[in-house]
Subunit: 101 residues, 5 copies
């Protein structure tokens, strides 16, 4: 999985019927120091992530379809977790609480 | 999924029999600010996308085969939605209507 | 799918038994203007493509196995179509006939 | 599979229910000479890997779900082995024992 | 598939149980002119490839599991063929025999 930051949302009315009701988040990848990278991904959210939160994104259709409700959707990326903390060599480099405003 | 702009079409008569009737779109990736990127993809369209529209593209054969009619096709990319609007941190950065000519 | 140009063939006698009879093409990717890119791929051909022809290549094992005869092969790339024409914004940028010598 | 070094852990409480109990490791890729690369991956551990160990990481949801306990998880990366030694042209370039402190 | 050169082996005792008996090769990618590229991959060998041989590597778990004995292994890369010859536009650019010492 990759670490990404929720930046916004994508809205579509003309889409594959299976996508009705799917919340599409625009995610920007970040490196493990929290620097934003130029890459982004649009993923289906099923954990209730909001703007500025750091999440784990899982890619590939086979992975995406394991999430309940996604099993027939033609999607290749899902948000599988909202990150609380990241530790590198026992040093805490990210903490969701200290980011909240 | 990635955001891409429809640039054109690809036509083929000598192809895998399962691809008969499939509309093949040439898509160019755009970044979240709408700048076109050098990468492109040829994808099967099933939502009726036209030239210059912004779409969501889903990649990987497992994802592509979830779209009705594609379940036996040897394809690795499909257009799954035409984008209406993109919001980044509650700012609207793309609106299909204001792009229409 | 990606656009590629057939450059040559790869021959192997010591291989997975399922690959017997498979024709392995060496393909070089081209961008949508026809410029050759440094990347290449070896793919199984099932549409009868020849050297210098432009083809569509589909990648990922799940996609590759949809082609008849490939369903048990450990392959990750197949040629699914020989391209006749490519249109970008209604301008024809490639035509197989005008390339033939 | 790719060679990576265990750097730390990622903790999440709000996540896909299937991920309960999964240990999420932050892994940094290394090249075959052991130089750390800028890329990282978050993977589920099932072999008991610890910080600073070199491991093999397997990616893609279809691969990840072959590990016992992962068959219904929406994950795209798993640690499948802790590396003992790496030989290049019969020269030993990595040995876990000589790295232990 | 990609063309790679066998560089060495990776040894692991603490690993997913399904990997017992699997031979793990360290492979370095080469371009079609035989120049070694910085990328490498660790793949399961089932065709008996040795150091310095050129092979075809197939990636993606779905492809890897088509090889007999691999159907339950959490792997994402396999060696599927040892290359004898490569032809580009009818010119032979690689011949295994002339490489043997």
């Amino acid at each position: 999985m990759q670490i990404a930051k929720v930046r916004g949302t994508v809205v579509s009315t003309q889409k594959d019927p299976s996508l009705r009701g799917a919340k599409l988040l625009l995610l920007q990848f970040v490196d493990e120091e929290g620097q934003t990278l130029p890459n982004y991904e649009v993923a289906v959210d099923s954990v209730g992530a909001g703007v500025d939160e750091w999440v784990l994104i899982s890619r590939g259709g086979n992975a995406a379809r394991q999430v309940q409700g996604n099993d027939k959707r033609p999607i290749d990326a899902v948000v599988v977790a909202i990150i609380d903390t990241i530790y590198v060599e026992n040093r805490q480099i990210y903490n969701k609480k200290s980011q909240d405003r």
